[in-house]
């Protein structure tokens, strides 16, 4: 029985891995030179988190979100209006109903009929989320946190696979409503993007037609497979207690650091666990390693930590806080 059990779980694990790699391959073909961000996006998708991209216009955010959305197909859509990919351009005059949907009185049936808003999708690209009013932002964030939308006291459940890629422009801040730290906490990763390198940029220009052609021809990933993979990874990737110890120690040492005004929440560590598992799965490991922590912690914490005014080097602060716990972790593999 046990052999059967292990065998079937191993099969499931391989399947889950395949799903992730397939997604990664598709998106990589569409978005060039951004392998790291693609990986983070997929990790976030699997870990049931959302990501906030901070970069300038024209850097491939939409392409990334669209590629991810297009790579997923749903066979039996329960809600007729749930489609793979939606994009919302946030503006100051946007209303919550523009995002969530609105009830319309149907004169034929004499009944109110809910028209689904753009949130009813698998992948939602929330462009320039800091440009809209806090009211819309909070509606958006409710949807992100609770996976549901409330209109006229009726609650509409969003799809289980609901993934938001929000963006904001770091430079053009005039007339924006910057997201406060508690709201930023809803995003699993905040990723700051740099320009892609020269070769990748050239490749983008070269392969533009080919990529357009490819987009419709992919062997897509089923929505249910993604959800199944999420479940498998959560259940099978082992997180050793020493790994958890290291995470707690890192948080504590950050909170004790003089240069840190406010440390990270416990929730951030809870959210981090599935992300670590997803990354391990992507790397073909069935356990979480210190390498995963090293790579994911900066993206998870950089919008959750408030530094003392005058201190700017977040990376240095984080490095200092991680040094001891990671050293202990590495040592423990020989001693425990």
């Amino acid at each position: 029985m046990t052999t059967n059990g292990t065998e079937s779980s191993e099969r499931e694990f391989i399947k889950a891995q395949e799903v992730l790699l397939k997604l990664q391959t598709i998106v990589k073909q569409q978005v060039l030179g951004r392998d790291n961000i693609i990986e983070l996006a997929i990790i976030s998708l699997v870990a049931d988190g959302h990501i906030l991209l901070e970069d300038f216009p024209g850097s491939g955010k939409t392409t990334l979100a669209k590629a991810l959305g297009e790579a997923i197909e749903s066979e039996d859509i329960t809600t007729e209006s749930t489609i793979p990919f939606r994009r919302i351009q946030f503006t100051p005059d946007l209303l919550p109903s523009d995002v969530t949907g609105v009830s319309i009185f149907d004169t034929k049936t004499d009944k109110f009929h809910f028209r689904h808003g753009p949130l009813f999708a698998h992948i939602v690209l929330a462009d320039e989320i800091n440009r809209t009013s806090p009211k819309v932002q909070s509606a958006m964030l409710e949807a992100m946190g609770e996976k549901q939308v409330t209109v006229d006291n009726t609650t509409y459940v969003l799809d289980e696979l609901f993934f938001v890629i929000a963006t904001q422009n770091p430079l053009d801040l005039v007339g924006t409503y910057p997201l406060p730290t508690p709201q930023l906490d809803r995003f699993l990763f905040k990723i700051t993007m740099d320009h892609i390198d020269r070769a990748a940029e050239l490749e983008v220009l070269d392969s533009i037609d080919e990529r357009k052609r490819l987009l419709s021809n992919y062997d897509k990933v089923n929505r249910d497979d993604v959800l199944k993979a999420r479940e498998t990874i959560g259940g099978q990737i082992y997180i050793s207690r020493t790994i958890k110890t290291a995470l707690v120690d890192i948080s504590r040492s950050l909170r004790e650091d003089d240069r840190v005004l406010q440390g990270n929440s416990t929730r951030s560590m809870v959210l981090l666990l599935p992300a670590l598992q997803a990354r391990a799965a992507l790397r073909g490991r069935n356990y979480v390693s210190s390498e995963d922590i090293e790579n994911l912690i900066p993206e998870v914490l950089n919008h959750r930590i408030e530094l003392v005014p005058g201190v700017n080097d977040f990376e240095k602060v984080l490095q200092d806080s991680m040094e001891r716990p990671l050293d202990e972790l590495a040592k423990s593999t020989l001693t425990k």
Binding site: D258, N286, G310, L326, A330
Partner: protein
Amino acid sequence: MSWQENSSNYSLKKFWHSIILAGSFWILSISMTTLGGSVAAFSGCALAYYLINSAHTKKAIRLFRTSILLGIYAGIFLLGLAFSEFLVDTKPLAQSLSPIVTYQFGEITRWFTMSFACGLFLRTFAVRQIYGPILEILFVATAFVFTLAAHRNGMIHRPFFIGDFAQIRGIDPSVILLTFGCGAVLTLSALLVLEQSGKRLLYHFSTLIMLCLSLFFYVNLFGLPTPQTTDSMGLTGREAGTNSQNENPFRDGENENSDREAPVAVVVFRDDYEPLNGAYYFRESAYSQFNGIMLDYSNIDGMDPDLIRLFPQDRTETSNPPPGREQHQLTRTTVGMLVPHKNPFGLESPVIYQNRTNPNNLRFKRTYDTYSLAPQYELEYLLNRETGDDGWSEEILAEYLKIPDDDRYKTLAMELLAELKPEFKEDPFAKAWTIKAYLDENGIYSLKNQHAYESDPAASFLFGDLTGYCMHFSFAATYLFRSVGIPARVGIGYSVPAANRSGGSALLVQAIHGHAWPEVYFKGIGWVIIDPAPQQTLVDMTTDPQDTLQQMLGDMLRNEGSFQEFLNSQRKPYFDATTIINTAYLIIIAILTMAYLIKAYRLSAPRLLANDKNGRLRFRAILDRLASIGIHRRLGESRERFALRACSIAPSITRVTEMHLALALGKDKKIGLKEEWQNFESAVKEEIKLNTNWRSKILALLNPFSWLLTK
């Protein structure tokens, strides 16, 4: 903004800075005040530094000009001084708290406010002016120089604990002093390095260079300074000087009592002798010839033949020992001079001088034996005796009776003698004693000297306020004796209270013991000291007991093996070099052996132990191999990252690390195949062999501690 990032570092520097300065105050104060006072000096400066460091950027302080702040500090300084004076001088306070407590309290207040104000001044200057820190450096340098200067040329001086520490352990004190000097240099350098501004650093180093250069030139041009202490009686000085009184002896008293307790010599008694009058007198010389102004060393043949002038080359006997052997006891003493003197001195009255091998050139300037005919008669024995000597010619007797051309001496003397009982009217001793008793009752002993610039200081003293020191008393008494026909002179040398000997055979002579006294020549006995002892005194002439120093110097001078034994007994626990070295060798060898054993064990453990849990021993052995060629995991580095770094030497490490981590962090704790691990280990071994040169290989083999790097 950067200060916030390393603020802890910054405040630590400030902390050390203030500790160094406060330490300098402490060092400066030890030789000048009590323990409480020096602690107060330390804390005062530390407080000042803390205040300025924490407050100088505050707006309220920044508004003040530097000059105003300096004025405030000066005010604090003066207030503190005044308050401590007030504490010491207030009678009710002294009565209620006891004088000692009040004195202590006064010292503490004085030194606290002084160092507090100086600290405020130095720090304010340092933070406000670019050249300000130079003052701090100069201050630290001065504090050390001031304290150490007293010890120059290997002298024993305050603070005694520096020299005593060395003496007791038989170390040359100059080593200790050098250590202190090195400490000073180190603290100065620390002070320099603590400076953050490059511009100021330049100032600092140029100051230091200036200090060194000026020291160099001073020593080259003028030589090292020789000790100049304890010359208050004109006894000490260069030996080769002419034996004439080139300065007014009355002006010497103006040398304040700065070095009163400095040791000048030690005397070891070889025979039992106790003085009958409570003090040991050591005569060095005498003023006997009246030169028209005052008494001086005599240059007439036949006068004072009992004195031994200058230092003879070998054994010398005085040409005129005191008569009356049965009234004197022949006493042998050994004298070790710590400070150069003009003439040898010896227990009254020295008759034989004999050089002696110096047991310690560093300590003693000169060592010699004297045989003295020390007095052993009761004072009554002197009654009914004649003065003068049959061998004296008329001229010599006349010299011993010459006094200034001043009738008041005779008038006063006659007045005093008029009260004598008829049976003693013609007795010289009774006359002399009456005169001494008059000075005892009416004279006031004081080091404050009002008479030095009078043409006849003795007259100014005697017929004036009767306030003066031994020089005045002895000159006045001698003139009075001579005026009534008693041949007298002023003996000079040292007078040490008998109690100072504290039962030992050694006696420490200190600067404060320098003394002058009147002497009268009795027929058949010789020169007899009749020393006025004023009943009123304004000076505290007592000294702290220096029993340890006295005994130590005595042992050193006696040089009869006991001192060496003493030193050896003290040395053993500290400086038995061979034992220490042997122990050190043993410890080193033991440590090395242990290290090699551990190294070998860790490499062979996977083969020796059947149960290699999780292949951990294998992995450790592999890491040990890498560590021995210098590749080891750094602090905070993850195993994967290390593997990435090490794979240029041993590519297999990546895979081994993966296996190890899967076992250590993964869910399944199943052990991999033993062969697989073995293969990896030998693969890493091969790779290391292939990718390192022979030198690293040898080092890898030899290094006993490489396994310590494996983490």
